[in-house]
Point group: C2
Chain length 224, copies 2
DNA sequence: GCTTAGATTTAGCCAAGGCTAAATCTCCGG
DNA sequence: CCGGAGATTTAGCCTTGGCTAAATCTAAGC
């Protein structure tokens, strides 16, 4: 494309990514959801959404929800590609911890040029997932959409492999890492408490997992 | 230090670096020089210099020249350290060309955190010079100040090694690279024309170097 | 020591992104 | 089908960092 995503302001990039992620998670993109996610007042969110609409990046009728246009979604995926490539790079080549990389990549993703992106992708061997297990959009802007159940949805006896962990909260990540619940780890559910907490086997040890943690881990089931 | 340079706005970082570089080159930092270097009107430069003064980063009396305070110089050197580490990294690990790295590093230097800076520096083996031959300030903020004569100042018979090339103009850099005049290259002056152009030996070949190019190359003399 | 060209500053404007407070709309429940 | 809670928008303000035009200062040259 002639105009790379880096031509958009940092704020615009952030909003596009935020809107994309809200739709992924909750589905309906309300102004309130946008404002909350961006840590901004509702008035500011309205303001920016109007600007995005003028730029043809979202569709928005007054008092209705927001939707990314094709152009907006393409831009969002480019930004997410930048972010996830950077995360992987920071982890594999610079040795940062799992819980640091999200924040760092957040800062750097806006200034990643096409040229540097291409070099990093090549250096990493054109990877398809970042260190949290999130899929990396292709350069063309397609995302291998895989839907994994959350750990909280599993029942005693179920086995699986950690496919992905939520990357939003570094504190959660730290606790998950301490429990050995990182992408690739094998787990087996032992017991389920009435409050949603789980007992499971991970790395050969019996672990207790709180409901909030169980909601942040996505599992690829194994038929075994 | 408690407040990293990344807390300063991008524009402020750019001005500090610009002011530092003007002083290095021409000495006296006038508002006009600042405006020119930043590609901005004189009024805008005045405006920003006032803000820098309020922040204690420069000293400035009305209608007088600008000087970095100790804090301002420290910040400038941190920014330059970021820039040069990134240049080296882009060259050595991502394989970008000599004439691309300046622009790329310019974009990325603002978002380089202390943590990532430290990793990159370690990965590069705590280097002391970037790919253009410019010295890299230490983490503490000291710059190994080496003064090399420009190629244009040499006389027939002089020999030396390219210590540094100006990194400002990518077109000049391309032409210098084509002539083999990159940091580390050995040269011997053969002849000097009245307009300042030079004939010299570089890479075993006789080369003709225009005055403008000869002004962009800095030579470490060899007694040989 | 004047004059004046050129440097610097001031005044007043703009766009991007934020904010709060107030107005307005939507939609659910009775 | 009406009222009101909550969502959304509008109005008016702020800071950052730009701009032009006009005012003012400095300093060089006579």
């Amino acid at each position: 494309m002639v105009s790379p995503v880096t031509a958009l302001s940092q704020a615009i990039q952030d909003y596009l990514k935020g809107i994309y992620k809200i739709r992924q998670g909750q589905g309906s993109v309300t102004l309130t959801a946008v404002a909350q996610r961006m840590g901004v007042s509702a008035a500011s969110a309205t303001n920016m959404v109007k600007r995005l609409a003028r730029l043809g990046l979202v569709a928005h009728a007054p008092y209705r929800t927001v939707e990314l246009t094709a152009a907006g979604e393409k831009a969002a995926l480019e930004i997410i590609r930048h972010h996830r490539l950077l995360e992987l790079f920071l982890r594999q080549h610079l040795g940062l911890d799992l819980h640091q990389i999200h924040r760092e990549a957040e800062e750097m993703e806006h200034s990643l040029s096409e040229a540097v992106e291409a070099r990093i992708a090549a250096l990493l061997g054109d990877p398809v997932a970042d260190p949290h297990g999130d899929p990396i959009p292709s350069r063309g802007g397609t995302l291998p959409q895989q839907v994994h159940p959350r750990l909280e949805e599993l029942r005693p006896g179920d086995r699986g492999e950690v496919a992905r962990v939520s990357d939003e909260d570094p504190r959660l990540l730290r606790r998950l890492t301490a429990l050995g619940l990182v992408p690739g780890a094998r787990v087996r559910i032992l017991q389920r408490h009435r409050n949603g907490a789980l007992a499971l086997l991970s790395g050969g040890r019996r672990r207790h997992v709180s409901p909030v943690l169980a909601r942040a881990v996505f599992i690829a089931r194994r038929s075994a």
